[in-house]
Amino acid sequence: MTARFAVGDRVTVRRADPPGHVRTPYYIRGKTGVVERHCGAFPNPEELAYGRDGLPATPLYRVRFRQREVWPDYAGQEADTVDIEIYEHWLEPV
């Protein structure tokens, strides 16, 4: 599967709330960050968790978020960031 997003693209994490096995942390849903790198493509763990093959392999991105945007009361440095690895189907273009 071809990667939909390039390094440096701004992306927003979908604000979805499905039941079942999900790898996207709750706190980052709805937040916007920047693609820091491509991590490769892997069988979708949300499918593997139910004994299915998870194919086709899904692109995985490392996305960088500013801590001040993730946590409204963040008291650390302005430049602080958090990197989270997120599968493509959880990301939307900004």
Binding site: H21, V22, Y26, Y27, P45, L48, A49
Partner: protein, 108 residues
């Protein structure tokens, strides 16, 4: 709804940074899970899903490897690797053996 296991950003107490040795049973569970994965019986993704499905009370009460074995037991029953009855009888057998060993130890 936020899953019980999805704790990022939630208020929490201090982190226990003490190192501790693993008990033999914890090492055995770890080894068993690696084998089940390598043999294609049970993936780490399925096991994680099983841990998330244990419920909030069990998730808070059980230790790390207790969560692993509780999840694996449920999943292996679902997959037909063993039946509920077989597991129940085996657990009773192991408990009886352990009790006998403790009694033996008390006498010596």
């Amino acid at each position: 709804m936020r899953g019980t296991h999805d704790l990022g950003g939630q208020p929490a107490g201090p982190i226990d940074r003490c190192e501790h040795d693993y008990e033999p049973w914890e090492k055995r569970i770890d080894a068993m899970m690696v084998l089940l994965g390598e043999k294609g019986v049970l993936s780490v993704d399925e096991r994680r899903r099983g841990i998330e499905a244990l419920g909030a009370e069990a998730y808070a009460r059980l230790s790390y490897y207790e969560k692993w074995i509780a999840s694996a037991a449920n999943l292996l029953i679902e997959k037909g690797v063993f039946t509920v009855d077989e597991l129940g009888r085996k657990m009773a057998e192991v408990e009886a053996r352990a009790a006998a060993e403790r009694a033996e130890g008390n006498r010596s």
